[in-house]
């Protein structure tokens, strides 16, 4: 038996193992870990996307209950499907969802919310994308779960599906309470 001839086999098996680990763990490689998890939600004050008034961090925190912050935009195609999922979620759990409209125009976002539904208690208008940077947002849509204490618990990248709400946000919310 010539063991040297088995070197390629050995290396290959190790490599397969390394590939298999993340796949079998079911980790979605699209999820980039957020540096914001476990940190206090950023301080901001934004004009409302629809109507007058302002949305500030303090407004979201004063009830002391957990809430969701959803970054979206009217030009974002995948954001459309989220509206119903979010609406169902607030109905079921009773927690507030705040929207932050990212790099958009007020006219477009009003029409868009009209068409696709508005599940948000209030929507901030982040025209320059400045607040998105504070949240560490890579792109829209992204959704944050914030505890009643103002600590960011979870971040979801990409469009929310019903299954995400049932299997991730729901259980996490239970724990947060």
């Amino acid at each position: 038996m010539n063991t040297r001839a088995f070197i390629p086999f050995g290396i290959f098996i190790c490599m397969i193992g390394l590939f298999a680990v993340p796949l079998l763990q079911g980790k979605d490689p699209a999820i980039l870990p957020s540096a914001m998890i476990g940190k206090q939600v950023p301080e901001f004050t934004l004009p409302m996307a629809t109507g007058d008034g302002k949305l500030a961090t303090a407004d979201m925190l004063h009830e002391g209950k957990p809430f969701l912050v959803n970054f979206f935009a009217s030009w974002c195609v995948t954001c459309k499907g989220e509206q119903q999922v979010l609406a169902k979620f607030t109905q079921k759990t009773g927690i507030a969802v705040y929207g932050i409209d990212y790099k958009d125009t007020k006219k477009d976002v009003a029409a868009w919310l009209e068409r696709h539904g508005n599940p948000f208690r209030a929507t901030g208008f982040d025209e320059a994308g400045r607040i998105a940077i504070d949240f560490g947002v890579y792109g829209v849509p992204e959704t944050f779960l914030v505890g009643g204490d103002g600590i960011i618990r979870y971040k979801h990248v990409g469009a929310l599906k019903q299954s995400d709400m049932d299997s991730v946000f729901g259980p996490l919310l239970e724990k947060t309470k």
Partner: protein
Amino acid sequence: MIIELAHFALALAFVLSLVMAVVPMWGAAAGRISWMALGRPMAVSLCGLMTIALFGLIHAYALSDFSVLNVQQNSHTLKPWIYKISGAWGNHEGSMLLWGWMLSCWGFFLATRGRVKLPPALHARVLSVLGLVTSGFILYILVASNPFLRIDPSPREGMDLNPVLQDPLLAIHPPVLYAGYVGFSVAFCFAIAALIEKKVDAEWAAQLRPWVLAAWVFMTLGIMLGATWAYYELGWGGFWFWDPVENASLMPWLAGTALLHSAAALEKRGSLKIWTVFLCILAFTLSLLGTFLVRSGVLTSVHSFASDPTRGIFILALLGLTTGGAFLLYGLRAPHITIGTSFKPVSRETGILLNNVFLFTFCATVFMGTLYPIFLSALDMGSISVGAPYFTATLTPLLVPFAILMGIGPLLAWREASFVSIRAKLYLPLALTVALAAAIALMPWPDRVFTVTMFACAGWILFTTLSDFIRKTQRFTQIRSMPPAYYGMVMAHAGIAVLLMGATAATVWKEEKILWMTQGDTVAFAGKTLNFIGIRPDVGKNFTIERAILSLQGEKDAAPDFLLPEKRWYPAQQRELSETALKTDGFAINYAVMGDQDKMNPLRRVIRLYHHPLVLWVLLGALMIATGGLMAMASPSKSTSPSTSSAARKVQA
């Protein structure tokens, strides 16, 4: 109905491929001629069935049959017809079907063209292994990515009309690249058959080489098309980004290049036997790995538009069984294969061995850079990405000795050579290289050390290759007596030199400007004057256009060049897309992209301008490399191989 027929054909193809994997192999083992002979009609029928399956899907796309889920998800009635058809393989399921179809096509050619030359037992075994690989792929399509599923009730409109993918180059880039990826499966089958027979010799290599060359030419063209597409469509002003998906295609190309050279040494001299078998397996493994990386979503990149962990596990299992099995067999059988013909430390064989060591190192370096992030994440050590700085820093130093070798290697004689005998041939190329390097060094441009090094490498390759070429073809009789493979080699090596120069010039001497411009503004750019004339609206087939008109004027009275970058608005998917404007200027390209509008002043725009000198040489070089491969394929191995291979056998005995 046609979809069901196609689905049935695919299922039948699976059964057939399983039979093909067993019967001819068994026949070869048991010495039954009639069983071995079944491989040929089976491979032909398999190709027929796969063709029915693929055309069934294309038919559904052409007619926009939205009762087929795959069509509904990936097509739209507003698409121009050509993109409806290319949409059939623009998605995951369809592209896997294309993969399987190409595999069966290679099987078809292997069955029909390989018959005359290959010994019957080897032929039967090669076809059987191909049948086995095909069955794995078809099973994957049927179970994990079936494009033939229906939806009821059928929607009236399709969902996707992704304008980024509506591009003529992107319609042909994947099929060409896939043909290359899949083509290395033939080399793999040859390797497995040889390991089963415990026989690797010059004749085997002579039969193998044209298949490797064909796959490699497709691969070269596929990579070139992909780079060209990225250059003008993505609008980042570059043609190679060391993106994981690009690297995934570069790795099998590098392994295939190594294989070409080692197969040549084996064919001519009977050397490097086991190593050639290893490279056959490696090239196909890297092809499968490329598919795995793109399709599993293990790596995220601009290209990974379809990813799904379950599919990843299936492809990984397929990869594990195919390559794991192959390397296991390799471990068991390699010690039984006779040692190849020996050679002296200074000889063409040594040159080729060193070439292989370098190419293998390049490949391993790209492999590490591409997969390091995965390994880190597998070990829970965080997410990182590896970019151009790593590849430049690791590959450039290796390029210098590699280039020197590339100049000298082809001058060395087989078996035994001496530096003294070739020394005289190197004076002129050396002088020319020094002159070129000096000329570059005198130019007032940045990154001087890097640029001079790269140009010296490219010049050395070019001058040694050309001077040898001129010396060997001085007389008419010599021209005809040189084998076509030699001309192919000259062409491909010169292509590498041209590509290196083009890539260096385009990166180091590029000019970039990103600026706000308002109608009527002028700016000095690339030694010319650029004038923003204005913006005109227009309409396309399924989009509206805002077109900027930029004129680029050299001399006062010279006719200006117009650059017309566009912003297109696709209402169906509420999507905006930039169309870059390209104008060639000699071998340079002037490139303009229109960016966002100033909210306060609608006439004011972000304009991005790029000037890439010699960038067309990159394209030219790649075309020369592919042409070189084609020329080498024409090589009549008959005229040279029987004599040398019988000589090689004598040496072994």
